[in-house]
Amino acid sequence: MTARLRVAGLRVPVGCAGMLAVALAVSGCATGAARMADARAAQDAQGALDAALSSYETLRTVAADHAYQQGYLRVVMSPEPDAVDFTAVADAAMDDLLDARSRACRQVREAAVQLRLLCEDRAAAAQSYAAAVEAMRGYSADQAATAEFRKLAAALPGDLTAARQARRIERLRVALDRAAAELAALWEQERPTWESYVETVYINQYAAGLLSLRLANFDEKELARQVNDPYRLPVKAGLFKLQRVREAAQSAAKIRTKLRQTSEAFERVAATHPDNRE
């Protein structure tokens, strides 16, 4: 039976989480080379979390597009277009879910930023360490964090003493590694649903509705002005719809590209994880 961990109420395979784990070496910042490698790994993690945050922000715009598109269809389909309530459309907002995921990503990103600073600027190490631990504890309180991560975060010492510096940094790194792996696993688990959400809004609920319009729905003179191609009016109506459907498909494709790029950013990080290095 495959071992699974719980991330934000979802069960994901531990192997998956491991493969997607953020690359943060376990040797501490004892040497210059190790410090550079750790700083680079933390930067990669930061990049992946930036990509995820950007994707979540883009997904936030989908609901507004949906409200406009459905309002548009309600108006053009209605027998009383000037009287139709174009605000009476399905609610596509996912704000509460996006807020929770963005909050978790921001906390882990902050820990990655502080770990990088800690490795790059030893003069400010104590301050960066404290800020990183605080960010980790913030994520620990989040519903996305697993019980296992909470234990790791609770065991993190709050300050960086000179005597045990390398060991404390190592524990911080392990905790960050785990937190980022959980967010990566959550991202991969949910990406198909986000893809489906985008498809639903731009294609299924909008572009498909445009296809049902017929010449009778158009003002012929205005249609002739809008479509320059030298064809009869029914063809112009088809071409007008084609143009609108293409615009919707392009909007959906742009968002899907962003989702894919976020997955690739997490995969790049996983590829540099100590367990996955050649």
């Binding site: 109420g9 979802l10 069960r11 459905q70 269809l73 309600r74 389909m77 209605s78 027998p79 009383e80 009287a83 139709v84 009476a88 459309v89 399905a90 609610d91 596509a92 996912m94 879910l97 949910e190 649903t193 489906s196 959400y197 639903t200 299924n204 609920q205 498909a208 509705g209 296809l211 049902s212 319009l213 017929r214 729905n217």
Partner: protein
């Protein structure tokens, strides 16, 4: 084999596509037969179906709901029937009735899913 939640989502999406593919005709027919109110009622039922699709996606993002397989299957059957009516070019009244039943079943499922 797809689980009941996936099946329900697929059927809901298929019903939405089927309505949209014939949307202009259905709304025109509703208006001709029952006036603007009938056309508005049809469109509002469609928006309820769209809302259900989003609620299913929200539920998928929240958690797995293994306990409600039977209810999801029942809702899936309701949506399938609504889609059949659309595909067969049924009258707007039959489509309205079918969508109403499907939305009611979806609503019950989503209540239990803790939407």
């Amino acid at each position: 084999m797809a689980g009941p939640k996936t099946t329900l989502m697929q059927r809901t999406q298929a019903a939405i596509r089927a309505y949209n593919a014939d949307r202009a005709r259905l709304v025109r027919e509703a208006a001709a037969s029952g006036g603007p109110e009938a056309a508005a009622a049809l469109e509002e039922e469609f928006q309820a179906l769209c809302n259900a699709a989003f609620a299913l996606q929200r539920a998928a993002l929240k958690r797995n709901h293994r306990r409600y397989g039977a209810l999801l299957a029942e809702a899936g059957e309701g949506v399938l029937e609504a889609r059949r009516l659309m595909d067969e070019g049924a009258t707007f009244l039959a489509v309205l009735d079918g969508m109403g039943k499907a939305v009611t079943l979806l609503g019950r499922a989503l209540l239990l899913l803790g939407k």
